[in-house]
Amino acid sequence: MADPASLMPQVYDELRRLAASYLRHERPGQTLQATALVHEAFLRLNAEKNHPWKNRTHFLAIAALSMRQILVQRARARHAEKRGGQDAQRITLDESALADVPATQPAGVDVLALNDALEKLAALDEQQAKIVELRYFGGLTVEEVAETLDISPATVKRHWTLAKAWLKRELAPHTPSPKPQVPGQP
């Protein structure tokens, strides 16, 4: 498989264009569905005859990386714009906006915090960070991640579970130390 980075420009441009068009009329609390964007970009680009990727999985690996960069850059730009304000406007990635999930679902994930946490995770285990990037920013299934990274789906699942638990704790507002679970507590 060719290096995803060399194939990036086309995918990156398309994704950035799509994201921009969604964010043009930005409202406070604007949410972006990263995987929806990737999905739409694929539908558009795949219709063209001479695309450089071999298959959808290949494309998604490229798109996941692009998407992560676009969102982080955008979040940084907004951050800089609003610097000084107490409530720096942050883009949240709300994957659950349209999903049938109970109201207990957290409202969204802060892209910059997630990006920082992923870099910390990469220092511990690079593959786990990559798995999160592919799953979360690219919307790849466990099987597709396995194919992309050339490891077994069972391994992907194990790493994904662990990485999610770690990120969840890392991104939680204030969890200084592990708390024993009390039955009946939410």
């Binding site: 929806a36 739409e40 558009r44 795949n46 994957e95 349209l98 109970p102 285990d125 770690w166 969840k168």
Partner: protein, 479 residues
């Protein structure tokens, strides 16, 4: 933390996850890893166990997204196996319902070809009460199904205001049954018939949505969707319309739709689900084992139809959906259902007369077999042919009548459908018998006056009986 430490954490975390939740902490504490690692794993387990869809991808198309020539407006609905968007066809400037696979099945080749196949099947259906499929679009490498977008209220919304009047319920049910019969005729089964899937349009008629598409839905979901039902907050409160064979994962057929139709009919008439509105497991248990709860507001004729449609064993339901339509059409619906419906059917005095009429007519017809043989030598070269024709008429009419007589005595619930099924055969045989008798009588009257009189009398008598007497007793019996 170093990456070696992290490896230890990961390994212990995996071992703990293999354990039941209650035993995890003990397992971690009993391990030989350093306390620091143990603490970390316990913290991660706590985070894991409060898992609530954190970071789970759920790619859906957003408002404004372009899919080929379609502009997405909003999501109309989503199930485990499909997402339906309201979209605008920018070429034809019309609104369509655009159905796609949900993200997690987007790259499942099997599901994709299934979606295509079912779209083709649904597209073959052209019926006023079935939403029209416009096109199967291949965009990227994904199939999308564009179909008619219907504005109106679903029957679910209509039922929120309470049960329908009997007349309206019957008219609605008949439209639905006719659409089902037309689809079943082409071998297409809905498998997900429910009030949510039926829309009353502004003209007042109903349209069934998702035909054929649901086949692919339900087949893939089966029990998975039932377990989904029990998920709090997901689909709780949606009563199941699945037939026992669907719940049990057995093969489904057109009769699976009959079951859902029976449930729907009950609901239209009473505003309640026939298998109770308790917890989902209770309802499922009732679907599998209990008959529908009798309801005094359901007319007997309709009760018979819905009871037969909701039989647990598909073989006990209507033979075909056309029979169901016939039962809905031939019944007169006025009197409330008896509390013990299995002993129902025409139990009145008129019903007795009707039963006796069938028996007597059959005996009378058969009694003419020997005289017909006796006189065949006097009816010229075609004597044997005339005799054979007479015997055929006797056999058909008498045996079908005996069949009805037998049905009413042993399987009274099936009588409406059986009557509808054999009515034409009896009518044709009756005419044949009466005409042959009369004609034979007239031909032989000159040479054999007594025989001739007997035959003419029998022919005219039979004609009077089936033209005037029988319809009158039938009307009285099945009022």
């Amino acid at each position: 933390m170093s990456s070696e430490r992290w490896q230890q954490v990961g390994a212990l975390f995996d071992r703990a996850l293999a354990e039941a939740p209650a035993g995890r902490t003990a397992l971690v504490r009993a391990s030989s890893e350093p306390v620091e690692v143990q603490d970390e794993v316990i913290a991660l387990l706590a985070a894991h166990e409060t898992g609530d869809g954190f970071l789970e991808p759920a790619a859906l198309l957003d408002a404004g997204a372009m899919v080929g020539a379609y502009r997405i407006d909003r999501i109309l609905g989503r199930g485990g196996m499909g997402v339906v968007y309201l979209a605008e066809d920018t070429r034809l400037h019309r609104q369509v319902a655009l159905k796609a696979l949900p993200p997690h099945l987007f790259r499942d080749d099997r599901m994709r070809s299934r979606l295509r196949r079912e779209a083709r099947a649904a597209a073959a259906l052209s019926h006023p009460a079935i939403a029209t499929v416009y096109a199967l679009e291949e965009i990227g490498d994904q199939p999308f199904i564009a179909s008619e977008y219907l504005e109106g209220r679903t029957l679910r919304e209509e039922l929120a205001a309470g049960p329908l009047a009997v007349d309206r319920a019957v008219t609605t049910a008949r439209e639905i049954a006719q659409a089902l019969a037309a689809a079943h005729d082409r071998g297409i089964v809905h498998r997900d018939l429910k009030p949510e899937n039926i829309v009353r349009t502004q003209s007042g008629s109903v349209k069934i949505l998702d035909f054929g598409l649901a086949q692919f839905d339900a087949a893939a979901q089966d029990l998975a969707s039932v377990t989904r039902l029990t998920d709090p907050g997901v689909m709780a409160g949606t009563p199941p319309y699945m037939a026992p064979e669907q719940l049990l994962g057995q093969p489904t057929s057109a009769r699976t739709d009959q079951f859902a139709f029976g449930v729907l009919l009950y609901e239209l008439l009473t505003g309640r689900h026939p298998f109770g509105t308790g917890t989902l497991p209770t309802t499922i248990a009732r679907v599998l084992t209990a008959p529908p709860e009798p309801d005094a507001s359901i007319p007997a004729g309709l009760w018979n139809v819905l009871e037969r449609a909701t039989q647990k064993n598909p073989d006990d339901r209507f033979v075909s959906t056309a029979d169901l339509v016939a039962a809905l059409s031939t019944n007169h619906f006025g009197t409330p259902a008896p509390q013990h419906p299995s002993t129902s059917a025409p139990a009145s005095a008129a019903g007795n007369w009707w039963e006796h009429h069938q028996l007597i007519a059959a005996i009378a017809y058969w009694s003419m077999a020997w005289p017909a043989w006796e006189v065949h030598q006097w009816t010229g070269r075609y004597g044997v042919l005339i005799f054979l024709a007479t015997i055929t008429a006797i056999v058909v009419s008498a045996n079908l009548r005996l069949h009805l007589w037998f049905t009413v005595r042993t399987y009274p619930l099936e009588l409406p459908a059986e009557r509808a099924r054999v009515a034409r055969g009896i009518r044709a045989a009756d005419w044949g018998f009466a005409l042959l008798m009369t004609a034979t009588g007239l031909v032989i009257a000159e040479a054999h006056a007594a025989w001739g009189a007997l035959f003419v009398a029998f022919g005219l008598g039979a004609a009077l009986a089936f033209l005037f007497i029988e319809p009158a007793t039938a009307r009285a019996a099945f009022r």
